[in-house]
């Protein structure tokens, strides 16, 4: 009887994680719509192709070395012999369990869920560089970010044996630092070298709004990302029995967690973010970005927030969007979709909020283990910023020096679709009504 129950638990866990995968694919449908809507008509299909290819390249590269990285690097920059042995056992791309295996029900679904996290990370970066980045360089950068650098961050701070957790008590249930900060600040590093779109800034430094061609598509895209995030955050739990030892649900660190907590806090954070952004911007683009910002702001502590507190933390996440975007714009950074702000700045707020409001909780399941502290979260935030910004800056600088980072000026002016896409987005054009001319 016990054996049958255990077998049923393993099958249920397999189904649970499998179902998070199509939900996370919805994140990509959302990013695709979001990016294309935020792009001017002359570049729309080029943006779509770039976004789809980012997803496509994450799959084989995460199989080849991304999954291995997660298991090999928890202890720091140089893998320990024990972690290398684990990595070869679980994630060797020519190993037995990295394929259909009747004795292993876990590897494929875990790998798939993590691959979707990787693809999400690359998609975050994708939107910020639209309309002027070369596809080859974009793919190199996306692979470096999605199949290596964020995975190192995850090994350090989203793993029960990661040194940020064991030494500093770093806690980041929903990957505000591990995914969002790394991706957002990687984008910042690239944007410094990539430069702004032609026409974004005037000679006096003032900025022009280069409006995307379809705001409704962008809004629907952002809402789809929210749908997919339920799957992302669902995949952040450990299934009871199959992957925890006490029969309860757990966070990735083995600390207590329930789906009930997710139900309360995702929705409260989402709502707070929308309302915060609405009050301070009245702009529908920032409102929907606020929905995402609200969830990211709460992500680190979705397991521990009291729901009204999650609402307030999400509200602050939405409220700081416009000031943060203006700050980067004043520095001459052209972030076409606000990725640095939504993911970098708000991810930072989320990590620090955990330290401000959640200090004292255990970072690991052991009673004598490290506690969550503000200093630990600050150290973690510094590490996540560095893992994102410096690789993004250095890699894009190398690509710029070789002259392969940015598209030629004549192509940018003409539009990337007529120059390099063998299809037309709107062959019959888009009808314009007098009401839209204001």
């Amino acid at each position: 009887m016990e054996e049958q129950l255990a077998a049923a638990g393993v099958i249920a866990a397999e189904v649970y994680y499998y179902l998070t995968v199509p939900l996370m694919v919805i994140i990509h449908a959302g990013f695709l719509a979001y990016e294309m809507g935020a792009t001017r008509m002359k570049n729309v299909l080029a943006s779509g192709i770039k976004n789809i290819l980012a997803f496509a390249f994450m799959v084989p590269t995460f199989y080849l070395f991304g999954w291995f990285t997660y298991w090999a690097f928890p202890n720091g920059l140089i893998p320990s012999p024990e972690n290398l042995e684990t990595a070869f056992a679980y994630a060797n791309p020519i190993g037995e369990v990295m394929g259909p295996h009747l004795g292993d029900h876990a590897t494929g679904v875990f790998w798939a869920a993590f691959t979707m996290f990787a693809a999400t990370t690359a998609s975050i970066f994708s939107g910020s560089v639209i309309e002027r980045i070369r596809i080859g360089s974009f793919l190199v950068l996306a692979i470096a970010l999605g199949s290596f650098f964020w995975v190192v961050g995850a090994a350090w701070g989203w793993h029960a044996g990661g040194w940020l957790v064991t030494d500093w008590g770093y806690h980041d249930f929903g990957a505000a630092g591990v995914v969002h900060m790394i991706a957002g600040f990687f984008a910042l590093g690239v944007l410094i070298n990539l430069g702004p779109r032609f026409g974004k800034f005037n000679a006096d430094g003032s900025a022009n709004d280069l409006a995307g061609h379809n705001m409704p598509m962008t809004l629907v895209g952002l809402m789809l990302i929210i749908v997919g995030f339920f799957g992302f955050l669902m995949a952040c739990l450990l299934y009871p029995g199959a992957f925890t030892t006490n029969g309860e649900w757990g966070a990735i660190y083995g600390t207590p967690m329930t789906l009930s907590a997710l139900g309360f806090n995702i929705l409260m954070g989402f709502a707070g973010g929308i309302i915060g952004a609405w009050i301070f911007t009245r702009d529908p683009f920032w409102m929907m970005s606020g929905a995402l910002a609200g969830i990211i702001a709460c992500a680190s502590g979705l397991d521990v927030w009291w729901p009204p507190m999650a609402f307030a933390i999400g509200f602050i996440g939405g409220a700081i969007l416009k000031p943060s975007a203006r700050f980067f714009e004043n520095l001459g950074i052209d972030d076409a979709v606000g990725a640095v702000t939504v993911h970098g700045t708000v991810g930072l707020w989320g990590v620090l909020a955990m330290g401000i409001f959640g200090s004292g909780y255990g970072a690991l399941a052991d009673a004598g283990g490290p506690q969550i502290t503000f200093i630990g979260q600050l150290v973690g935030a510094g590490v996540m910023f560095s893992l994102g910004f410096f690789p993004g800056y250095i890699l894009s600088l190398i690509l710029r020096i070789f002259g392969v980072l940015r598209v030629p000026h004549h192509a940018e002016i003409a539009g990337l679709d007529p120059v390099k896409v063998p299809a037309m987005a709107y062959p019959e054009g888009i009808p314009v009504s007098p009401a839209s001319q204001h």
Partner: protein
Amino acid sequence: MIGAPEAGWEQLVADQAAYYTGVGGGEVFWTAIAAGICVLAIIIGGIQEGSSFRRYK
């Protein structure tokens, strides 16, 4: 199926073994092919894009 083992399904289930090779090992050849395709695709895609830019001038 390439590499299908001689043992039938019943034997594989009893052995709880991987069934894509039948000998319990990964396929180095196909893994290398996948890696090579990724690298070549990026290179070829970049070259094609560069050609488009030059043609449009």
